[in-house]
């Protein structure tokens, strides 16, 4: 049989068998199963055949991220040209936003971030799989797409590469790989970047392409985020309308701006049963609750315009959801099934606290105008504790119910007895 007739799938299969028991076996295995369902079947025990394995789950999340990636590529150009030429009057999506000029900026700035993120991350995964002799894990498929979307557009590629190595090794592999990690790897990468290279991760120059290069020259451009303006009590200086904020025509990390597309992605994930709606709903509630408290404090006159917190505290509570990375964090980061709470009741508590603490960090720490990544990392650490107490509570409640159970003889002739449980 000539090699030409073989399908790509078959060739991968043969390649996989050639490398069986060799050191590089996991690498070929991964390529094969990533693209196709494997041919092998198990030979013992009863197994359920399901198409929704981890790779399909991951691919679903990536599908939900693709629209955001495309939007962010256009937005990269839109923000750049708006910073140079001023925002267009009579803004129309087709004439001013979806243009080749805008997309080209996206191609030269956003695409390299994606390529570096995947290239470096998967390389680390492959190296670990080969050394440890297990299969390549799928976990990085989603992380690799999330990472370019949560960093500022001007992040140097080598910094991203260093951070990805750190995040994958320290955030995930040392705990035992995908499924064993305590912290969300994508957020670990962002936290590393934030603490290691703060000048590249915050301020008013990093959110628009060329902002750092032009700083200090006559051509300097400023792309302060809305939260940045608010943290400096300069609420009057930005002119973004609510619909700009909702649809995402604002500066910010690459993919965090469009609350609309994030909402669509979130609905897609909820209906495909990949992400937990409980976490999303409770996180939104938490953010609204904290926002309402701050609004109330301002309305009561406790915080006046002289306070440095006034800008963020007086910001309408519901607007917190459509600026900054809160929406993106809630939909794609907080719902990570590995690092989040596992129990239903736990998910409510976990989500609520994420929203609550995010807005709290936002307002009280002007050095971190965006606190959602810190809030999620914090709650990642507490998730097992929440689950532990939810489980213990459930056990003690059922023990109590069991103690109060009354046994009523069903039929006097037979010895069968039905247990009637009376709840208190």
């Amino acid at each position: 049989m000539s090699n030409k007739r073989l399908t790509f799938k078959k060739r991968l299969h043969i390649l996989k068998h050639q490398f069986r028991d060799k050191k590089l076996a996991p690498a070929f295995n991964a390529f094969h199963t990533f693209l196709y369902s494997p041919d092998e079947t198990t030979h013992s025990g009863g197994h359920i055949r399901g198409a929704d394995d981890l790779k399909r789950t991951m691919n679903t999340v990536i599908m939900a991220l693709i629209p955001i990636l495309l939007f962010s590529m256009f937005n990269a150009g839109y923000q750049y040209y708006s910073a140079i030429n001023g925002f267009p009057e009579n803004f129309s999506v087709w004439n001013d936003f979806i243009t080749w000029d805008n997309f080209w900026i996206g191609i030269i700035k956003v695409l390299p971030l994606v390529v570096v993120s995947y290239g470096v991350g998967l390389l680390v995964e492959f190296i670990f799989a080969v050394i440890k002799g297990h299969e390549v894990e799928e976990g990085y498929l989603v992380t690799g797409m999330l990472v370019p979307l949560i960093v500022p557009i001007d992040t140097p590629l080598w910094m991203l590469a260093v951070a990805v190595v750190f995040g994958v090794v320290i955030g995930k592999e040392v705990f035992g790989g995908t499924g064993m990690n305590i912290l969300n790897p994508a957020l670990t990468i962002r936290a590393f970047l934030f603490f290691a290279y703060p000048t590249w991760m915050s301020g008013d120059k990093v959110w628009v392409y060329q902002g750092m290069e032009r700083a200090g020259t006559p051509d300097a451009i400023s792309g302060e985020t809305i939260l940045g303006y608010l943290a400096q009590n300069n609420a009057s200086e930005f002119s973004y309308s609510v619909s700009d904020m909702f649809f995402g025509f604002i500066p910010g990390s690459v993919g965090e701006t469009s609350a609309f597309l994030i909402l669509l992605g979130g609905l897609f994930l909820v209906f495909s049963k990949i992400a937990s709606w409980r976490i999303m709903v409770s996180a939104v509630l938490g953010a609204l609750a904290m926002g309402l408290i701050f609004n109330g404090v301002v309305d009561a006159g406790i915080i006046t315009e002289t306070s440095s917190f006034y800008g963020l505290m007086s910001f309408d509570f519901w607007k917190h959801l459509i600026v900054g990375g809160l929406a993106f964090g809630i939909v794609y980061m907080a719902t990570d099934p590995v690092t989040g709470s596992q129990t239903n009741r736990g998910k409510w508590i976990y989500g609520f606290l994420i929203g609550f603490i995010s807005v709290m960090i936002r307002v009280f720490n002007p050095a971190y105008p965006e606190g959602v990544f810190l809030a999620i990392l914090l709650m990642n650490v507490f998730a097992p504790t929440i689950d532990h107490y939810v489980l213990k509570g459930n056990i003690s409640r059922r023990m109590k119910r069991f103690k109060n159970a009354v046994i009523i003889p069903k039929d006097t002739d037979s010895k069968e007895a039905a247990v009637k449980v009376e709840t208190i």
């Binding site: 260093v162 040392v174 590393f192 290691a196 290279y197 703060p198 000048t199 590249w200």
Partner: protein, 215 residues
């Protein structure tokens, strides 16, 4: 008779690697995290601990038969406190700037678990010469980790070694900085020191599988 018998050599060499107080026994972590942002501070700290431990072990070993066991902890504390005060005063007299960098951590040598641990575990039951070697060995094991951590933290965090700019000048953009390299600010924070120590533990245990604890 040789100066060091085989057993004596073991006393010095063991704590350097396979029985390292930091990476194996995980003692003395606080100071290892706090003062290792600069290589110079790490070296001075290592030398201070070397002095306190070598001498302290000798003193305790000399007194081991006259210390009532009920008050031995207090006696040990007095000995180590006296030695630490000597170190502290010497640093203040001859290296004032450095003593400000080390700040409270010189004083906290008193509470360093390694020192009390060696007094209790070794000096109270062994002769003077062997106690001295044990003290020197453990302090060196502590010091070597401090120097390794300090080396990486200063190199990657500030781009200098012992204060000399080895990677170029970050403000004038020379050397590595001219091609866009930046110092890693995270390296200067204590959490990163913990991670570096963790990585050292990882490297050491994957080279010598016998060190991995069962659980």
């Amino acid at each position: 008779m040789a100066l060091l018998t085989k057993k004596d050599t073991k006393l010095i060499l063991d704590p350097l690697a396979d029985n390292n107080p930091i990476t194996i026994q995980v003692l003395g972590i606080c100071s290892a995290l706090a003062i290792t942002a600069e290589l110079k501070a790490s070296i001075v700290m290592a030398l201070s601990v070397l002095f306190v431990m070598g001498l302290g072990n000798v003193v305790i070993s000399l007194m081991r038969n006259i210390i009532p066991s009920k008050i031995r902890i207090i006696v040990q504390l007095v000995v180590v406190a006296a030695l630490v005060i000597i170190v502290d005063q010497v640093l203040k007299a001859f290296a004032y700037e450095l003593s400000k960098t080390l700040a409270v951590f010189v004083g906290l040598i008193i509470t360093n678990c390694i020192i009390m641990g060696r007094f209790e575990a070794f000096a109270l039951g062994n002769g003077v010469w062997r106690s001295f070697l044990d003290g020197i060995g453990n302090a060196a094991g502590y010091g070597i980790i401090l120097v390794i951590v300090g080396f990486f933290r200063e190199l990657l965090g500030s781009g200098t070694l012992l204060g000399f700019p080895v990677l170029g000048n970050p403000i004038e953009k020379t050397g590595l900085y001219s091609i866009g390299y930046e110092n890693n600010g995270f390296m200067l924070l204590s959490p990163m020191a913990l991670i570096v120590v963790g990585l050292l533990i990882w490297v050491q245990r994957s080279r010598n599988k016998a060190l991995i604890e069962e659980n």
